[in-house]
């Protein structure tokens, strides 16, 4: 097992672990606004860890660029949706 394989496996494990933590948090949280934080967190670090695993494995080839673009899209667009959802929750639950 080469150093690259170890790095890929580590990044993948950390990415999957991050997503798992967010899923457990979604299940454990009581309020919808708390759940938004876990849904938003899933779109940040774990997605880039998975993209980083692809980059380490493939170097800067087309699949690696695609994985980075997907991670960036998930981060940016997920943040926009999370903000819109949080605003909706604030209106409906807290009547702001």
């Amino acid at each position: 097992m080469s150093t690259v394989d170890v790095a890929v496996d580590t990044l993948l494990a950390l990415g999957v672990l991050g997503e798992a933590v967010c899923c457990v948090g979604l299940l454990a949280a009581r309020e919808a606004i708390d759940r938004v934080h876990y849904a938003g967190a899933a779109a940040t670090v774990p997605s880039f860890l998975i993209a980083a695993a692809v980059v380490v494995k493939e170097a800067l080839t087309q699949p690696a660029v695609d994985a980075l673009v997907v991670a960036a899209l998930v981060l940016v667009l997920g943040s926009v949706v999370g903000h819109a959802t949080a605003r909706l929750i604030a209106r409906e639950v807290w009547e702001l």
């Binding site: 997503e19 979604l26 849904a39 998975i50 926009v80 949706v81 909706l88």
Partner: protein, 90 residues
Amino acid sequence: MGREATALNAWLAAATAVLAGLVPCGAVALRGSRLDALVALELATTLVTLALVLLAQGFARPAYYSVALALAGLGFVGNLVFVRFLERGE
């Protein structure tokens, strides 16, 4: 697709683990309020998008990345549509 590509590798195992995260999302969507279900849908969109990346890498098919790219964009639009509908109270 060779035998090595179809065998279970770390990418496919990771994709399976990520897709298992859909179970909590489904539980929250079924049991929670409509706002809880919306948040669960957002997390499920993220999970499926990342699972498609992992599957594309696991099957060694770079063309499959297009599906993940499309879902990243279309999932955003779909979630925003749901937010707008709920804002209007429909």
